[in-house]
Amino acid sequence: MNLGVIKALVAKDFSLFFRNRFYTLITVLGIVFYLIIYFVMPSSVDEELKIGLYAPVIPPVFELIQAEEGLKFEIFDSDEALKEAITDRAYEAGVALPADIMEKFASGQKPRITLYFSADAPDEIKDAVETMVRELAYLQTGQTLAIEVSAEILGRDMLGEQIPIRDRLRLLLAIMLIMFEMMGLASLISEEVEQGTIRALLVTPMSVHDLFAAKLIMGVSLAFTQGVLFLAIVGGLNNQPLIILTALLLGSVMFTGTGFLIASLSKDMMTSMGWGISALLIYSIPAFGIVFPGTITDWAKAIPSYYLADTIHQASNFSAGWGDTWLNLLILLGFNLIIVWGGIMALRRKFQ
């Protein structure tokens, strides 16, 4: 590899990138736009109580719960389904009633009621749910100590540390911001192929490796800088910055490799945008799952960006350390090798 050649190519690519008004616009205004979205999102949490209920037999008084204001109540078919929903943070709290509750009430025994709470459910909600269940038992039996209650936290315990929606959203915004750079890079490369400038480059002493190294450096530095800048401004680097920066760097490599693949499929800026938006939608799914817990399941793990989104989410919102995130980073690295290699092969084919 020739560093002088790579430096010249990178300088040329940056120069061309920022001379295209559209790329400049999405780069400069993109970060402003996403920052505005972040800062207009509510910084407080919604206090509406969502409760899941697993009850093979529903005591009559429990039906009164449905009428309570500010309370959302969903019936689950099994205890496992209820626990899974709460683990996925689709509900903050759940109540599981035993099948023999009515018999125990009738015989004067104390049925055991299990309360489930999501990791980030605050104490107020835990207290409110327990009080409500005891009150309902009292109304049903006329006795103050009619039940035994056990509480279980599902997932990571975020006692008193709920995450505001905008802090969940910042990851999605960061990923979308970076992916726009991916589309810009793809468009720049396909433009080079279509205009034939790549042929002019390939009859100089520069090697193809120099060319790809330059494109990789350009794509990664654009994406990485945008991501870091955005997360730094919105406080996304306050926890575990090294892990987040590592994840962002790997993510930038992944998106640059994807940019190569898109460029190999594209003929012009419009087709680049078309393919790019398709990739953007797919890559955004895991981040959507973090913004809206419970909306995705395990299949999202097949999407490479899951490991980027999950790592940054765990590190920035739950202060997860290297021990918790190394596997994600390793898988992300594996995906990177495949995507970048595939992208380079596809582009080489196109160049020839």
């Binding site: 010249a8 034939g196 002019a200 009859v203």
Partner: protein, 288 residues
């Protein structure tokens, strides 16, 4: 004897079932200009692509300056300049920026872009973006870009196609200057006059094969016919054409008869053009 700058040995390339270049062999001496002539699709560009390391021959080999191109692509590319048929400049960059980029890729430092731009007549517009240039200006810049590294071998693919006479003349002068400098030039063109004027030798390529290769003069002697064309006036005052073929045993008598027995009004000699010769050899026109 000086080493040949370009040697093509049985060069062959095919795209699927289509044989684009079919076992062609030729050599170009150092400092020589070889005109490479043929209609569209004859295999000229594919041959250039193999000689410049853009394509690896399926069979045969290309040797430039003593180096096997396929085995020494980067070394060979450090010694050549290529001017493509289609304009492929960075349009959002200025002429100076385009040239400086390529100078850096060739590792040339320091580099005076201004001197080169003056040579191609672009002084004064060097800082303007290329997208604002006319076709002729872009083509002159393409030629300038191919000269950035002062190449020992220059490949010019239709450098004057579609240009106004001034731009064409400017480019022809540059080619002659490069020849004076000692550069070897492989020139493809549809302009027979240009090939005739600039080339030491011309190669006719048709359907992937070289069908003739020699100096323009020899080709004309070998394949063309020289003639005298005259207009004579009859007794009734009508003008009629007469033709006397030169270089035959009967020529002296025929000329004598023309002048003694006819009333010659005008007379001029006529030579076969390279276009005529190409048609007579291949049955095809160069421009199809």
């Amino acid at each position: 004897m000086a080493q040949d700058a370009i040697v093509a040995e049985e060069l062959t390339y095919w795209y699927g079932d289509l044989v684009a270049v079919d076992h062609i062999s030729f050599n170009v001496a150092q400092g020589e200009i070889l005109g490479f002539l043929g209609p569209n699709g004859a295999g000229k560009t594919t041959t250039i692509n193999m000689l410049t390391g853009q394509l690896k021959p399926k069979e045969g080999r290309a040797i430039l300056l003593g180096m096997d191109v396929a085995k020494n692509v980067e070394k060979v590319q450090g010694e050549i300049g290529v001017c493509f048929e289609e304009t492929n400049l960075y349009e959002r960059m200025s002429a100076i920026e385009n040239l400086k980029l390529f100078a850096r890729l060739f590792g040339i430092h320091p580099f005076d872009a201004g001197d080169l731009l003056r040579r191609v007549g672009l002084a004064g517009r060097e800082k303007d973006r290329v997208e604002t240039y006319s076709k002729g200006m872009k083509q002159r810049l393409m030629v300038a870009r191919s000269l950035v590294s002062r190449p020992r071998v220059l490949f010019l693919d239709e450098p004057t196609v579609g240009l106004d006479p001034t731009s064409s003349e400017a480019i022809r002068n540059i080619i002659l200057e490069e020849r004076e400098r000692g550069a070897t030039v492989l020139l493809t063109t549809h302009d027979m006059m240009e090939a005739d004027k600039l080339s030491h030798r011309v190669a006719f390529i048709n359907q992937g094969k070289i069908v003739a290769l020699d100096t323009p003069h020899s080709l004309k002697q070998q394949y063309g016919k020289r003639a005298l064309k005259a207009k004579v006036a009859t007794e009734s005052g009508e003008l009629q054409d007469r033709e006397v073929i030169l270089d035959t045993p009967e020529t002296p008598n025929a000329v004598h008869e023309l002048f003694t027995q006819e009333n010659v009004v005008t007379i001029h000699s006529e030579e076969a053009t390279l276009e005529d010769i190409f048609i007579s050899i291949t049955g095809r026109s160069l421009i199809e």
